[in-house]
Amino acid sequence: MATTDQEVNELIKREYEHGFVTEIEADTFEAGLNEDVIARLSAIKKEPEFMLEWRLKAYRRWLEMKEPDWAHVGYPKIDYNSISYYSAPKRKEDMPQSLDDVDPELLKTYEKLGIPLHERAKLAGVAVDAVFDSVSVATTFKEPLAKAGVIFCSISEALRDHPELVKKYLGTVVPHTDNYFAGLNAAVFSDGTFVYVPKGVRCPMELSTYFRINAANTGQFERTLIIADEGSYVSYLEGCTAPMRDENQLHAAVVELIALDDAQIKYSTVQNWYPGDENGKGGIYNFVTKRAACIGKNSKVSWTQVETGSAVTWKYPSCILRGENSVGEFYSVALTHNYQQADTGTKMIHLGKNTSSTIISKGISAGKSSNAYRGLVKFGPRAEGARNFTQCDSLLIGDRCGAHTFPYIESLNKTAIVEHEATTSKVSDEQMFLCRQRGIDPEQAVSMIVNGFCKEVFKELPMEFAVEAGKLLEVSLEGSVG
């Protein structure tokens, strides 16, 4: 149908619904980065001494590092001295003792976002840690979690209350030398979430962190550390949004997961940072390092991500499969439109015997966007009997977008088995005609077809978020056919 491309482009025009700015008094560092800034940051957070040393070491190394340019994305050079490295809502006391002490404006912000933090309106069965700019403002359901022995708090709190645990694991999966943005994060990370699930404990509820960038010209550098001790299980979800601003903002997070013997971590992300407007102005640069170490036997880590936001995304949630029989999974839906660029995928590093991994990646491109899958599957010399299955599917909407697949396979073990499947398809005119002939609105038709395409990934999300993810895609595709 001659008009479909035009229709599709109409449908894709969407409104970003989380684009409001909260008027709130904040303590914000002046822009710029040097050792003094890092020392002030560490002091404000009342960190133990070893942390300042740790940060400075990372900073000095970072100064010698070069910003990577191999990803299939393009963006103007970032001036790291024009960014403020700390912004926190002002408070009378150092820490709010209860939610009553939290600024009502802030609570309203989270309510607007659909994340109620108030005791009476809490999300049923989901514990939330809310991170606003550089600090964690509230964590819900602390008590029942504590009863189960689960530690769920901001990483700043963890550094004060459980320094030995943090010290033992921080940077063991993503060292500060790993890459440019991980180095920067190690030097300046301001807050994030810490989870420790003790031996044999099945975490009684879903854990979730909600990240919100509010202040202008501020970077968000959060750090998440999750440790699942022997035989434990935890499911964790993060959600992200930011106001609409004309200038780009940097988000450079590091997430480290550690699974010991027989432990299981399920990590889900619904990323909806502001993607920029329809002309490609503004939006978040999302440069994130996420990695899991399956160090224990029979351990398992599943990454599930639904990526619809950000101007530029550069992200590869990975698994290092060290323990025998350990399992890594990666399920991803990445949707780009307008001028969004995404270079995302995963790395599965098989080191142990009989380790296995599954990669299911669904890329959806619309508008003038570019969507790349980049994945590495590597088998070390001791990875006897290891296997990987990879499936990369791309769906194109309209004819001005692009999809690219960059699979890398390295094998040092002859017994390793790897399977790779890739497909590219379009929302076809015939599919649209069939739906419309049955009386279905074009918008609803595209949304239904795209949701069908993503089904294998959505079924991996926790129930309440699968519904969210479906709705998010619907909003993201709004106006793409007219």
Binding site: Q431, F433, Q437, R438
Partner: protein, 257 residues
Amino acid sequence: MLSIKNLHASVEGKEILKGINLEIKDGEVHAIMGPNGSGKSTLSQVLAGNDAFEVTSGEVTLNGEDLLEKSTEERARDGVFLAFQYPVEIPGVSNLQFMRTAVNAMRHHNGEPEMNAAEFMKLAREVSKQVDLDPAFLKRGVNEGFSGGEKKRNEIMQALLLQPKLAILDETDSGLDIDALKVVADGVNALRSKDRAILMVTHYQRLLDHIVPDYVHVLAGGRIIKSGGRELALELEERGYGWLGIKDEATAASPAN
């Protein structure tokens, strides 16, 4: 019900329909026959509103309203249903979800409350029996991995669910064995009603043994060159299209079956 006057349509600049005139009244069943390339499928696509075809002149009204100015989905909601010759697959979207979305779009248009999943499931199970489809098909992706016959039965099932005013069946008999043909024909016969019109497009007359039409039209070179009753189809079967001065390779190769 349906009135077509001097309809001309082209695809990629090439004129396919060269002045079609046709009147169909409530309750009537019309068959359009003709050799390959005569414009049969184009006519059904144009009536359903496929944008790939451009209407260059003529008019079409459905119950007095201009059909051509309406979008595909508006025509569908007004009661135009097209059973596709080659129904396309929609991977990952369950048949059940697809059909319920369609039925609810129609109900919404008619000011009726939407059906919830449980209500619809019950209805869909009933109707699937009517076309001899295992209810397991409801859970599969739309047309995904269906055989030719299953796809055709699935189309008729949708017609039964949507209860259209005008059902256009595009080569609904092609690729069916005799048993499947009977099932499909039974489904179509169940659709027959005094307030519904049916337009069947077919190459062969065998479907008309099971669904007896009130009128038969022969389409060739983008025009209706002969109209008649049921006996016209039988005559075509006996004598082929050549009798009307039309060349048709397919018919010559495999007459009437």
